[in-house]
Subunit: 329 residues, 2 copies
Amino acid sequence: MKLEKELIETYLLPLAQNDAAALGFQDDAALFQPEPGTELVISKDLLLEGVHFLSCDTPENIGFKALAVNVSDMNAKAACPRGFFLGLAFPKAPDPSWMEGFCASLSVLSKAFYCPLLGGDITHSKSGLAISVTIFGTVEAGKMVKRSTANVGDRIFVSGTLGDAALGLKLMQDSNLQQRWQLDHEETKYLIHRYCHPIPRGGFNPLIKEHASAAIDVSDGLISDLENLCRASNKSADVQLNQVPLSSALEKAIKVEPALFAHALGWGDDYEIMATIPADQAAAFKQECMLNGVPVTEIGTITAGTQPPQYFNEKGEKQQMLASTFEHF
Amino acid sequence: MKLEKELIETYLLPLAQNDAAALGFQDDAALFQPEPGTELVISKDLLLEGVHFLSCDTPENIGFKALAVNVSDMNAKAACPRGFFLGLAFPKAPDPSWMEGFCASLSVLSKAFYCPLLGGDITHSKSGLAISVTIFGTVEAGKMVKRSTANVGDRIFVSGTLGDAALGLKLMQDSNLQQRWQLDHEETKYLIHRYCHPIPRGGFNPLIKEHASAAIDVSDGLISDLENLCRASNKSADVQLNQVPLSSALEKAIKVEPALFAHALGWGDDYEIMATIPADQAAAFKQECMLNGVPVTEIGTITAGTQPPQYFNEKGEKQQMLASTFEHF
């Protein structure tokens, strides 16, 4: 108990940013007063050593990613993150330097999105580190952007570039790949950073809320998540593969090894946002995103039917695209 | 992914009880509309195999306890549980019979307290089972009962009986103890059941909300949790040990082995509620509890000062009482 209290007071309490809802971690629970007319949007992730991160990952990367992937869920729903709860299970008492690194990167994101730590617990694990994050946000009643409400004819937009993290992970796992893919040091660093430090899209929520008929965060990859959105909406989609936004580093690697293209779109860990926009608002949406510094690209259209989304190359030929995401069992 | 979807649809979706907030588990997040004038009370627990439960524990016991300890937190705050989020990490695909048992007992509690499952995730663990539960409830604004608001002269009440679970755990771990403590089969079963199936106090919340100046759930044992409440309130307490409510099974074992008394109060896992009641409301509180079928017992008084609570025997002699709760590291 003593060590747990010490860890909480030294490292975690500052993450509460003195938010009243945390009650100074002095009670059994946190207490949050939602503004009248708002709804709560709540999401949860469980991250385990050896599965979602490696024991050799830096505490900074682990801490950053644990919160980032949850903030990304809020962004995809046009919800404003309001606080998070953190469960940590350690196999042994963590080094102060580990805690410092973990909390420092958490703190950066937590402050950037004003998403204070409101509670949680620290406990013992018989094996690896386990991290559980529950995030909650608020949105004006009725304004949450769902997955299930895309309409035929809506244009499909994605933020940023896709597939970088898939290659970043591979580059981390095999140091020979940099040379094989003819990437320079900066490009390699960029791709790895995209895997380790997925920066949730800021400033995007008002635009999504105003224009999007549906949205999802691209965490399992374009192929999987577009299929998820279409299935929830009872629709299908046509996607132009040559319009999918790629970073210059990724394009360079694909030139050397074309099969990487399919892998990059099938893998995931992008944490970009995919949104469907009614055709008559597409131009306005695009322009407002530009003015707000959020790069978005139109990649296709929602269609009728319940078949999986269809992918076409620049010649208009249908291409089979498969999700390569991790099968957990 | 396929198995995860199957597990979610077969076993977890029914736990949502068709609650609209769950969105049929079809979205990135849950969506909850709090009633105007309510506040949210949120609590979180992370439970790990080998630490919080044993691999030989039945899935029914594990499922029941995971939710029960969280509902108990809501009860201690006079909050009405409104939903929970569940993260499950399995070392291998769980047997259908395991999932059925786990979900069946979860379902009993979830229905009893109308606390639907609103979301969560299923993932892989490299080692033991990990369970993460986040619960949230609502309470009229300003009405949450805190730990930190006890006043000098308030009477200390506890619900039910204390210490049963401490002996129940010992009886589970060593089958010789039943004979040594001269317990019959029913008494043994009762004590073990108190450990495995802590039933959160129902019907108590309105009484706590109306009368209590402060409250806490007794999860770490009387000694620890009274100290926690007193520390948060900047107060001390006097407790009459002979007034602490004990079950007849526990009394019987203590007669054989008097040291069990201190162990029982120091251990925890009671999941009863401790509340401080202003002296002039103590009689009314007691009577209302009786009329509502909630057994409560007055065990002491909040005093001035910041020393740890003091314990007295029936002769008025001070007794040293120590928490024997688990040190996680």
